[in-house]
Assembly symmetry: D2
Homo-oligomer: 138 residues x 4
Amino acid sequence: MSTLTRFGISMDSQLLRRFDAFIREHAYANRSEAVRDLVRDRLVQKSWDQGNEEMVGTITLVFDHHQRDLTEKLTAQQHDHHETVLSAMHVHLDHFNCLEVLAVRGKARDIQSIADRLISVKGVKHGKLVMTATGEGL
Amino acid sequence: MSTLTRFGISMDSQLLRRFDAFIREHAYANRSEAVRDLVRDRLVQKSWDQGNEEMVGTITLVFDHHQRDLTEKLTAQQHDHHETVLSAMHVHLDHFNCLEVLAVRGKARDIQSIADRLISVKGVKHGKLVMTATGEGL
Amino acid sequence: MSTLTRFGISMDSQLLRRFDAFIREHAYANRSEAVRDLVRDRLVQKSWDQGNEEMVGTITLVFDHHQRDLTEKLTAQQHDHHETVLSAMHVHLDHFNCLEVLAVRGKARDIQSIADRLISVKGVKHGKLVMTATGEGL
Amino acid sequence: MSTLTRFGISMDSQLLRRFDAFIREHAYANRSEAVRDLVRDRLVQKSWDQGNEEMVGTITLVFDHHQRDLTEKLTAQQHDHHETVLSAMHVHLDHFNCLEVLAVRGKARDIQSIADRLISVKGVKHGKLVMTATGEGL
């Protein structure tokens, strides 16, 4: 189990005023919570750049489900990588368009490669990968 | 209904060789599909910068569900914005950590503000917003 | 003149260990300096998203100077916006390719528009805009 | 020497209308130039993610030159990496603040490491790295 440590930060009062305004605007409970968020975000970004840790991500896809065989292709690709794709959520945006979000877990390189393959399927209009972390050690 | 138009692109053969290698690596069916993807991605990015269209997005959150009252707070915030938050997917990453992905739809500014508020909640370890589009006109 | 304020931050010891490793790797003098950097970077990013402040930026261009009339076109465009373009640096990368970096200052919207126009000139192979701030209040 | 190749792209007329509006707004001479820019930008981004090529970049720093010993420290660090740092441009933003832009060339990993070290120096208020390419093969 880990414990809470407290340490001091010195900051120019002018910069601190701007940071406090940011904290209010984003509805952070206090400075500690805001600083922790900045630190965690920077660490996740670094892990993802280095590719040496197990990461968690989401792949967001927008597509027209009337496109022939598209749903089958996307489902087949997800099953080919069932050890990485944890689960999926499907939203009907309008008569034609769907949003599908996949939760994935694995090495950065593998996640990137699966995202590339899904986004490149004909009929997928837009796709984006978000990398986050398992939460361990954050 | 819209129709398919065909037009010619001239490209230096050296650049085209590199583009073709990119197309193979990403498993695109052909050059048209790859070019359309680059164009759509750029247009979505521009719409999002300008903030003048209805956008679709996903908010990815990683949090420790043992954190007191956290699940209630996150659920309450989602209900406060029920006209924007379309649906949610929850994944159990380990004994402590959860991944929650929300599908959202609305003005860029509103989506950003909801994401800021969810990400700033104490106990949320990491959060990211992805903006995509409704698929209309793409 | 502004003064230095000191405040306390509480952080889980496991997260702090990872942050301290990050601080060592990036050669920060201490935790305060690292936290200030994260805070400043986030504030600059927010100002740039909102577009309501005078910003400073650099526009990086890579181009083949043998391309006919290219240098004249780029110079003419810079003079058209002499109130925004502060200065320029030119580096010869090889027999064909040049790197040119412009320092710019103005409203985010104007800087973006000048960058778009320079990057779109035929012969410019790659271009990127970086937004930073005047340093005032940071 | 490389030659110009011409190939056809098929695109939904609705998407093409939006792309043409984008082309006008960014003052591209024609569709080919706009497509080439999207392709080059994607290739540069991929090279930079993979880190397996010699890259060119710019490091943008904003700092208060009254900060004790800062200029000396920054100059010393640049000289330590004289094989990577090609040249520098200095702009006086106001009585206190300076903008310094360095042109750098080398492996992505080395460039990133130099940027990290410069940005972490006390007194540097904001720093950003832009990666582009040598222009060869683009």
